[in-house]
């Protein structure tokens, strides 16, 4: 039972992440590879706040979202200034910058979470307190699964409402023909910045949930591998609608579980997993560029 609950938590986290990325890639047409940096910011914000201030979920989540939205201004600035694969590369640079900061912001003689040792570098932050929701401490796997799935469903309902609003039509117009949209008076920069900010907020919420659940966070949450995994989820599942990220997250979380039953050594299974992700990217780009359940082809 714990096995299923564990995967329910992970599914909720990755559906949130993939849905956020879908907003920028599928609705905005902005191919970003910096999504894991916002995931990392959310996870580290919860970890530091829970250790030094409070483990109450709502205020920490609000602060994590605020910080991620502020940081997303950097990516938004790049998105306004450039397009296409050059933006993708620039976002990869942004991702590397955040990872480098997270991986190196440490000093052995300073307490964890202090200005000099903010992230504890490559050792990560362990012993993160369990979260409390309105005074109720969440400890058991069932509680965590309930919390994660509820958060995920609530956030996805919110995203669905946003995507049915005129603002989403505006994003699609920008995605399909930016020049024409701008000629009609649509503010491209502002709309892209808003979409990236919402996407960053979803990633930060996912980061908070993961850090609270695992009780440990290290630099790998904000790594390039993580960004590639998220991009794979969106590309495999499909972009431009709400179903794609859900299917992408399900498929890509299912692959490692399949390998678990083959009883391969852990290191081989990890390499094989990435190999399968790579193969799926190549195969889909050739056979079905809009993904398994998507409606938008990368342009």
């Amino acid at each position: 039972m714990n096995y299923i609950l564990h995967h329910a938590v992970y599914l909720a986290v990755y559906v949130l992440l993939a849905s956020g990325l879908n907003l920028t890639v599928g609705y905005c047409g902005v191919l970003t590879m910096a999504h894991a940096s916002f995931f990392g910011i959310g996870a580290y914000t919860y970890a530091i706040l829970a250790l030094s201030w409070t483990s109450e979920l709502l205020p920490t989540m609000v602060l994590a979202v605020g910080l991620a939205v502020l940081t997303s201004a950097g990516v938004a600035l790049l998105a306004v200034r450039m397009r296409g694969d050059f933006f993708a590369m620039a976002s990869l640079g942004f991702q590397s910058l955040v990872y480098c900061l997270v991986h190196n912001w440490s000093a052995s003689d300073a307490p964890i979470g202090s200005w000099r040792n903010l992230t504890n570098g490559p050792f990560g932050i362990a012993g993160i307190p369990r979260p409390t929701v309105l005074g109720y401490r969440v400890t058991s796997p069932a509680d965590f699964a309930l919390l994660s799935l509820t958060t995920c469903v609530l956030v996805l309902i919110g995203v669905r409402v946003i995507l049915q609003a005129p603002w989403a039509q505006l994003l699609r117009a920008l995605r399909d023909d930016e020049l024409a949209a701008r000629a009609l008076g649509i503010g491209a920069g502002r709309s892209k910045a808003e979409a990236i900010a919402i996407s960053a907020a979803l990633a930060a919420i996912a980061g908070v949930l993961q850090a609270a659940y695992l009780g440990f966070v290290d630099a790998s949450v904000a790594s390039l591998d993580q960004s590639i995994l998220l991009l794979c989820m969106v590309v495999v599942g499909g972009t431009g609608n709400w179903k794609g990220p859900l299917i992408g997250a399900l498929v890509l979380l299912f692959i490692p579980e399949l390998l678990r039953f083959v009883e391969l050594p852990t290191s081989v299974a990890a390499e094989l997993r990435l190999l399968l992700y790579g193969l799926s990217l190549v195969a889909l780009m050739h056979r079905r560029p809009q993904g398994l359940a998507g409606v938008y082809r990368l342009e």
Partner: protein, 302 residues
């Protein structure tokens, strides 16, 4: 006090300059390898990261079976070149035939990089490997120290760079490659085989990346996951040098490496990537066409 500070500055400067120039030659070659595909085709050839790894890996296997270093280095370069060419034949050319947009090439190239790297990791392990055993010989040049491996790496990179520049400037193939970069449609209309030229650019790019990978591996060792970092630095060199020139990319690579060495000497090596990518972001925000790019008349479609 002032003299002491000046002496320390000169010491750091000499050392950083020497290391910067030796690493810069390799980084210039890496940037040029990336630009050789990007300029004529517009493709972000991330699969080059596999060529960066496969060349030293072939050399490492050859050394283990007792083959001489020059032979295994040649085999490594050949292998890297073939890998890059294969990526064009099995991935990019079919996508071009389908009229796929450039981001599709980027994502599939990323997929190929993952497949290639993980295959190599499964076959040879992902731990760090070295091409030369023991402690290397070193010389003092003023206040700086330079090792034999660094000299070999820089010399081989310089020779290949020079060879490519001569090829580009004096031969018919070089002229065709430059024409492909400027206007592929007109080149096709004039009867040139554009597909063949694209294949040549992919093969040359793989060969140059392999030499850069070998040079770095001979100096500091290599692992199967280092390719993407090398390609990212090459992208930085391309962006800093401007997207429209082979030679400015090479110069930008050289200057980038010198700058990185200065940062490492006056600050800390662990912040190198943060400083590099922070600088890149700054350049892109201020001047998206690249720091040294020519100012071009804006096209109606952009």
């Amino acid at each position: 006090m002032y003299r002491a500070v000046s002496c320390v500055t000169v010491l750091f400067t000499m050392s950083a300059l020497t290391n910067g120039i030796t690493n810069g030659a390799v980084l210039a070659l890496t940037g040029l390898a990336f630009q050789t595909v990007y300029l004529p085709t517009g493709i972000f050839h991330l699969g080059l990261g596999v060529a960066w790894v496969v060349a030293p890996l072939v050399a490492w296997c050859g050394i283990r079976v007792g083959l001489p270093l020059p032979l295994v280095a040649g085999l490594g370069v050949l292998a890297g070149s073939i890998v890059s060419l294969l990526f064009e034949l099995v991935n990019h050319r079919p996508l071009v035939a389908k009229g796929a947009p450039l981001p599709v090439h980027l994502v599939s190239s990323l997929g190929l990089y993952l497949v290639g790297t993980q295959l190599l990791s499964l076959l040879a392990g992902s731990e760090t490997k070295v091409l030369r055993p023991g402690v290397d010989r070193a010389w003092h040049i003023g206040t700086a120290i330079i090792s034999r491996a660094q000299l070999i790496a820089a010399a081989s990179a310089c020779v290949v760079l020079l060879g490519f520049v001569i090829l580009l400037m004096t031969s018919g193939l070089g002229r065709a490659l430059r024409a492909l970069a400027d206007n592929p449609t007109e080149l096709a209309l004039r009867g040139h085989n554009v597909s063949c030229l694209r294949s040549v650019s992919f093969g040359l790019s793989g060969a140059m990346m392999s030499v850069a990978g070998l040079a770095t591996a001979y100096d500091v060792g290599f692992d199967t996951h280092g390719g993407l970092t090398a390609v990212l630095l090459a992208v930085v060199a391309v962006i800093l040098g401007g997207r429209d020139s082979f030679l400015r990319t090479a110069c930008a690579g050289l200057l980038l490496a010198v700058g990185r060495e200065y940062i490492a000497s006056i600050w800390s090596a662990r912040w190198l990537d943060a400083a590099t990518f922070g600088f890149l972001a700054l350049v892109l925000v201020i001047r998206p066409s690249g720091a040294a790019a020519r100012s071009l008349r804006r096209d109606a479609s952009t």
